[in-house]
Point group: C2
């Protein structure tokens, strides 16, 4: 589908669901961006879910988002159950302001929802020449180390740094693969890789449905489990949001709003060594790119480069949408 | 060896190496603590190395450590090539002060050295009821994803949170195991586990010496590699220290000071939700401990609990020291 047609359709759909024009545009743009970087699991495959939750009054289409100033550096945002895109967009902009003013920004968001890809928020801060951390929690998907029941979300760690034209953005879930990929595989009836998830009996499975009913595996055992807990503390407990398995699954659990939390930390990279930061960052990338390559590797990429290349490749192309999702869009467009 | 005798010996040795009494005590205490938590790789096995580097004027025994105030929250410390323990100890205390004053602290240290276990600094902040991140870089040990040459250190991510009597402290290297464990195995002529390191020809090895000559494996491929790069940026580039493979190996490279960097971020956990933070943190631990256990697991522990239990178990015991290291101590004590 042509991008401008898709964008109009999405804006229309969100407006029909009572979002303001401005908020509808934000949501449409984030969804399209997810498609352009081919993070299909965070793109249009979620549209119907967002609309469902709005219809069921679990996402507030007209949120009164309150920003409480704690200090010049620190802000606390009550998202009033907004769609995640909108509150996270406000939050990262606030975190940018705070760091520009004082060198460091800390912005916590409570009562929010799934916000798509963390890297899009990180990118905004990086484009303003800041280092940034984005943390968010998510519904149960991973068993804590030693347990056999899912509790932590796949809780991404996202870290961004200005690095010339293409931002350095590490956006990594602490699970072997992200849950969205499993959902997407399930929707399209595809298999998932071996060794990334267990079924409900604790056996490795490549069946997406069984994996969703079972539990995903964290990276590196107790290390990944510890990192997942860390992200839950930072984005869930610290911000005053749901945590410890209480974050509701947006697809399956309609018993209340998700109450997801986000945390953004922004740092001006020039506070300690001034312009030398950019110089040294460039040097780091050059040194690493010039290392002798492992077999099968032509080129060493830094985190974020591949995504950026994909984005640029797709920027002027039509978006390929599976027929199941086309039908969902058409149906929502008609309502 | 009795702890008080060992402590006196260590203080004497450091004083002989021209450290002040106060700095000698700090070093002795951190080394003994590493032994008590059974992190042997960060304990007495390193004593001779520290002394060697002092003798070769690569560690400055009488550093003029300068603390530059950037703002109420932010400080930059020039460690003047001090032994890592001393500058990191000063830095975390400064980070605690900054967060107590403003809610958030950011302290960067440049021109420092290996500082032992990150968790000891995290613990200090946690005992002052703060959330803390400690980052430090280290000499080349891991190949970046796509490369076949070591460049990143095992660069630990250390995160601490107040959690009742026992602090929640996640202290995890981004390598499959920490380099100190391989060094320690090498020293005692033991094997290392399968699948954690490659020899210089790129094959998996369980021989510690070959592993030290080869490269260690990061956790979870590009994820671990990305996290290692993140830690190098935060503690190396941002602080104005060595980075991208330039951090000198304290055991092997006597061509100059190590120029290690550290970064401490401290956050008052009560800034957003007040006392509820402690309540929710307790709830989180309770929920997770009560999950159904995986086969072979009696009890779910949170990060830091095992180390704390080990510490308490050993607190009143003599310290068992391998004869090779006893000889090193006796020799240094006599000089």
């Amino acid at each position: 589908m042509k991008q401008n047609i898709l964008r109009s359709k999405l804006i229309k759909i969100f407006k029909k669901h009572k979002l303001s024009k401005e908020h509808s545009k934000i949501c449409a743009d984030y969804l399209i961006k997810a498609e352009l970087v081919e993070a299909k699991s965070h793109g249009l495959t979620r549209l119907k879910m967002y609309c469902n939750r709005i219809q069921k009054k679990l996402i507030n289409p007209k949120p009164k988002i309150k920003i409480k100033k704690i200090s010049q550096s620190i802000s606390h945002i009550d998202a009033d159950n907004s769609i995640g895109f909108v509150s996270a967009d406000i939050a990262v902009k606030q975190a940018i302001k705070n760091a520009k003013r004082t060198g460091i920004g800390l912005v916590a968001v409570k009562r929010s929802g799934h916000f798509g890809l963390s890297s899009f928020y990180a990118e905004q801060a990086v484009k303003k020449r800041l280092i940034v951390f984005c943390f968010t929690n998510a519904p149960p998907a991973l068993a804590p180390h030693g347990a056999k029941k899912s509790l932590f979300g796949t809780n991404p760690i996202c870290f961004g740094v200005p690095a010339g034209k293409t931002p350095f953005i590490l956006d990594t879930s602490v699970s072997m693969i992200n849950r969205g990929r499993i959902r997407h595989a399930h929707k399209l009836r595809r298999k998932i890789p071996y060794g990334v998830a267990l079924n409900k009996f604790g056996k490795i499975t490549t069946n997406a449905k069984q994996a969703l009913q079972g539990t995903q595996l964290p990276i590196a055992g107790f290390k990944g489990s510890g990192l997942a807990w860390m992200v839950d503390i930072l984005s869930g407990i610290l911000t005053g949001s749901s945590h410890s398995g209480k974050t509701k699954d947006p697809f399956d659990d309609f018993s209340g709003p998700q109450n997801v939390g986000h945390l953004f930390i922004t740092i001006n990279p020039k506070i300690f060594i001034g312009k030398n930061f950019d110089k040294e960052m460039k040097k780091s990338i050059k040194i690493i790119k010039n290392l002798p390559k492992a077999r099968g590797c032509d080129k060493i990429l830094y985190p974020g480069e591949r995504k950026n290349n994909t984005y640029k490749k797709n920027l002027k192309k039509d978006i390929l949408i599976p027929s199941i999702i086309i039908k969902e869009i058409e149906k929502l467009d008609v309502i």
